[in-house]
């Protein structure tokens, strides 16, 4: 009978230096339950006095078996599970999955649905960065930004609730479009956010960006070079803070992003402060995209009319026999996908979120693998902490912006 234990010191001996084995340096356990690790992450820190020699992350405490569970459900029903992977960005996960399914079965998406997807994805990016800002401030000792950003997030969660009924796990984006059209109050609520947010972001910058304590704790801490980013496959704000202007929304645009005009903020320092600045600038760019998408939003249907893949609206069920049959078949059996595999990537607030989906001719995915940015980015933790003080590891973990649901799946 296994006792489900986590790795102990003996098994890690080959990763720790000789000084740890002889007792000259101390190995501490920053355990799965800790106020400053963003979720259930365990880090084994090797300390020489106050200086860090090595930090070994131990993950898997939130492994939910989503990939195996998706293999047992049809394409539509397994979308519900995808929300809960990167729980700071549920709409982004849905979007990546739906884009992969649409590519696999070659399904079209009407332009109004694409615009709604872009607006919601950018608002989710905004809410994820707001929470990141709040918890980073909290970890470094600044409690006020946390309360302010949570207040802002309430306004965004109200919009998600307006569209779909749920605050966080919406499953609003479905293959072929979105679940239903946005209600009338949507435009007013989004315009309200566009009017009030820029001043709020200025407020957070006033609190933190020139704060001497914040600068001392984040400047030149957690350095990573561009070469290391390439070796480890790091994308997202961590890569952009080292000077590379790479964003999948510009490089390989999806869902109509090529129509909108926005910048990709970069910094050259590669440290915690650079990543902070990149994310704050990204928040402003997200507002720009939402503004343009709202103004340019076309009319028309929000779902593909291909009834083999998209269920008909409920109003048709009472009138049309074909609609009833399609509805029945789609919800009991699901739609078949061809044999073959696709890999589709979107830009999540953490980096490149990719979905590898393989179909086998049946209604259930044969294999669905999520290439998550937190898994790749967390590998660089040992590189970033060498030679720093113990108090810096909190700032470094916060700046990588990991979400353990994303990392462990």
């Amino acid at each position: 009978m296994t006792e489900n234990r986590s790795t102990n010191f003996e098994e890690l001996r080959h990763l720790l230096s000789d000084r740890a084995v002889s007792g000259e340096t101390v190995v501490l356990n920053m355990g799965p339950q800790h106020p400053a690790t963003h979720g259930v992450l365990r880090v084994l820190i090797e300390l020489d006095g106050e200086t860090l020699v090595n930090a070994i992350p131990d993950i898997g405490f939130l492994h939910t078996g989503v990939e195996k569970e998706i293999e047992n459900k049809t394409y539509q029903k397994s979308e519900v599970l995808t929300d809960r992977l990167d729980y700071m960005n549920p709409i982004g996960n849905n979007l990546a999955y739906c884009l992969a399914v649409e590519k696999l079965v070659e399904l079209d998406v009407p332009p109004r649905a694409q615009a709604i997807r872009v607006i919601l994805a950018e608002l989710t990016r905004l809410s994820s960065h707001l929470l990141w800002l709040g918890t980073t401030g909290l970890d470094l000792g600044a409690i006020s930004p946390f309360l302010y950003t949570m207040r802002e997030r309430e306004a965004l969660l109200d919009i998600f609730e307006l569209c779909s009924g749920a605050r966080m796990m919406t499953t609003y984006i479905r293959p072929g479009g979105v679940w239903r059209d946005v209600p009338g109050e949507f435009e007013g609520a989004v315009k309200n956010i566009l009017a009030t947010f820029p001043k709020r972001i200025d407020e957070y910058e006033r609190l933190l960006t020139k704060n001497i304590l914040f600068l001392d704790r984040t400047s030149k801490i957690g350095l990573i070079t561009t070469e290391d980013c390439y070796h480890y496959g790091i994308t997202g704000p961590v890569l952009r803070a080292t000077g590379i202007k790479h964003d999948l929304r510009k490089a390989q645009p999806y869902s109509g992003y090529e129509q909108y005009d926005f910048d990709i903020p970069t910094e050259t320092t590669g440290d915690v402060l650079g990543r902070y600045r990149v994310r704050v600038a990204e928040m402003r760019q997200s507002l720009r995209i939402v503004d343009q998408a709202l103004k340019q939003m076309p009319g028309g249907p929000v779902n593909s009319s291909n009834r083999k893949f998209v269920p008909p609206p409920r109003s048709e069920l009472g009138e049309s026999m074909e609609a009833l049959i399609h509805h029945f078949k789609l919800w009991t059996e699901g739609f078949p996908a061809p044999k073959g595999s696709v890999y589709v990537a979107v830009e999540s607030p953490r980096g490149e979120l990719g979905v590898f989906l393989e179909g086998d001719g049946g209604p259930k995915p044969y294999r669905c693998h999520y290439r998550t940015p937190s898994f790749a980015n967390l590998q660089t933790l040992p590189l970033m902490v060498k030679g720093r003080f113990m108090a810096d590891i909190v700032a470094i973990i916060a700046s990588i912006d990991i979400v353990l649901g994303d990392c462990d799946r």
């Binding site: 006792e3 489900n4 234990r5 986590s6 355990g31 799965p32 339950q33 800790h34 106020p35 979720g39 259930v40 898997g60 405490f61 939130l62 492994h63 939910t64 078996g65 989503v66 195996k68 569970e69 519900v80 599970l81 809960r84 729980y87 700071m88 929470l131 946390f146 309360l147 949570m150 207040r151 997030r153 309430e154 969660l157 605050r167 966080m168 796990m169 353990l404 649901g405």
Partner: protein
């Protein structure tokens, strides 16, 4: 009775020991930070300004289990995390209460596979279950108030 008529303005209140102890316990429960997954974000929202948990006495979230008396199990408990959870529960000093927040902690939720424990009551005894995926902050507050009701009616024989 008589003493109240004579000493009413001196600021003396008579009550039972049970009432006083229970009142002090439920009005200042300190939660332990045990946010695991998505429900932790809603727990943080409940703690923040819009739905303030500190009006229920839960201003401080203690990271150390030795200093906490309420554990919100917020999120899915996996098999790797289960021994850690039990160890933390054992480290909490009595009196302690557990609120299973969310569907995953109550019964396994959306997930039913090799990796997720189907309900945290397989590991620790639970006092209140709050349903939702994730539960709205108002639902969590309702669960907290239900726990307060439960503690208010605890009997002397149980804890003395």
């Amino acid at each position: 009775m008589g003493i109240e008529q004579k000493a009413g303005n001196l600021g003396i209140v008579t009550t039972t020991l049970e009432d006083v102890v229970n009142w002090s316990r439920y009005n200042s429960m300190w939660p332990m930070l045990f946010g695991l997954a998505c429900c932790a974000i809603e727990m943080m929202s409940t703690q923040a300004s819009s739905y303030d948990l500190s009006r229920f006495g839960m201003e401080l979230n203690r990271a150390s289990p030795r200093q906490a008396d309420l554990m919100f199990v917020a999120g899915r408990v996996t098999r790797k995390m289960a021994p850690v959870l039990r160890q933390l529960y054992d480290q909490m000093p009595a009196p302690k209460w557990v609120i299973a927040m969310g569907d995953c902690a109550s019964c396994g939720g959306v997930f039913n596979n090799y990796a997720v424990v189907q309900g945290v009551d397989e590991i620790v005894p639970v006092d209140v279950y709050v349903a939702g995926c994730p539960p709205r902050p108002e639902a969590l507050i309702h669960g907290v108030m239900a726990l307060h009701e439960k503690v208010r009616h605890e009997k002397l024989a149980k804890w003395a």
